[in-house]
């Protein structure tokens, strides 16, 4: 049975503009989100992930109006993350025409099961993505880390992910913070380790720099591969140029 693996551009929003970071730092301006998403739509991207990086940190709500404008010309599946702290915010986001919402900060609160339950009951598990940011410590062991890189969580990653899945999460977006923007490939063994331990699709993010990187991550068990820099930079000096081609479809 042939499986079509998804290749997903990720856009990071900061103050309503698209940026790209390296290891979550040094944001570089990419462009206007409406135009950027429009280009990915025209290029027939499998799906798109839009992550607003500052909303949760500033304890604000998402910019609904901006999202509405982004989505009006978007005929591909959209996953949005950023500032989703309760069911009311989720409802507003889904009503705009988003398929999936990605939750991160709210998962690391004590009452994380409530929000997953609330969303799953109304919208179904396929609509909830858990974004897990992981970073290696000095001894090379992964831990889950907060958005601002300040809080390290002492959680067993597999147990935590499986508790999210049991509660109703339908997809895992695993982000390798150390690989963010480095464009040198992903941690393949860790992809295999996670993929073999979970029952829902795994999307791996962070580190993609080439078609070979994408193929390897898929071979090691990622259900879909997501990337930022790979789709927005071009050439040795990282000039901004939006491109998209799913090489996985052509084989």
């Amino acid at each position: 049975m042939k499986k079509l693996n998804r290749l997903i551009p990720v856009l990071l929003l900061k103050n309503d503009l698209v940026y790209k970071t390296i290891k979550f730092k040094n944001p570089k301006y990419i462009g206007d989100p409406i135009n950027t998403v429009k280009i990915f739509n025209e290029k027939g991207a499998d799906e798109i992930i839009i992550l607003d990086t500052l909303v949760s940190r500033n304890k604000k709500e998402p910019n609904y109006n901006l999202l509405k404008n982004i989505l009006s010309e978007c005929f591909m599946p959209v996953c949005y993350g950023g500032g989703i702290s309760n069911i009311d915010i989720s409802k507003k986001i889904f009503d705009l025409g988003v398929e999936k919402i990605s939750i991160k900060t709210a998962l690391l609160n004590n009452n994380y099961k409530n929000i997953i339950n609330d969303i799953a009951k109304i919208y179904g598990s396929q609509a909830i993505v858990a974004c897990i940011d992981i970073k290696k410590n000095f001894f090379g062991k992964y831990f889950i880390i907060s958005n601002d890189l300040k809080i390290k969580y002492k959680l067993d990653i597999i147990n935590f992910i499986n508790s999210l899945i049991d509660t109703g999460v339908g997809e895992i977006l695993l982000q390798f913070v150390d690989n963010d923007g480095v464009m040198n490939g992903q941690d393949l063994n860790f992809i295999r380790y996670i993929s073999e331990s979970i029952s829902v699709p795994l999307v791996s993010l962070g580190g993609i720099g080439s078609n070979d990187n994408i193929k390897m991550s898929i071979n090691y068990g990622a259900d879909a591969v997501a990337a930022g820099s790979f789709f927005v930079f071009n050439g040795p000096h990282n000039a901004v140029l939006i491109s998209y081609k799913n090489i996985l479809d052509m084989e």
């Binding site: 997809e171 829902v200 259900d223």
Partner: protein, 200 residues
Amino acid sequence: MKIAIINQKGNIRSIVNMLLKCGAESYITDNPDDIIKVDKVILPGVGSFDYAMNFLKKKKLDIALNEFVSNKNNILLGICLGMQILFEGSEEGIENGLGLVKGKIVKFQSENINFKIPHMGWNFVEKTSSKSLFNLKNQRYYFAHSYYANLDNQDNISYQTEYINKFPSIVENNNIIGFQFHPEKSHNFGKQILNQFVNL
């Protein structure tokens, strides 16, 4: 002629936009009286079976949709969960479905670690009935579901898709149609099939 879209949860806005690209006007409603005025109704939906059915019952849309399809010139299209609630029931919940197509919604069972649930992503459709109203070749669509339809009458399956097992991706029972995938999120492939629907 305008198309009515039932105001279920989900990508309603995307359906309106895609229909506009196909040259069709549509409006979103949860008022049973509005359904009588049109000859095409789209029943969208993401989410859980019981939540969707309870919503339809509360708004008396279940009765309205039954009356709507009793006129054979009218066409009802269910999308994703909207297709699943056309059936009699689901393993996902305890509520009865609309019962417009005979069969039950069942959950995928995967024993292969490479095939995760939900079935999330793009997949092809393969024609299984020559009577289908749709003519699709090498088309692929976006799927996002953990459950699929198990039909009593295999003749009602017009296209099938393979993921873990073969399952119906398009069902047709006379003037009742169901798409398991999301045409409104399937780029030009989705536009083409909605175009065919608009011109039925």
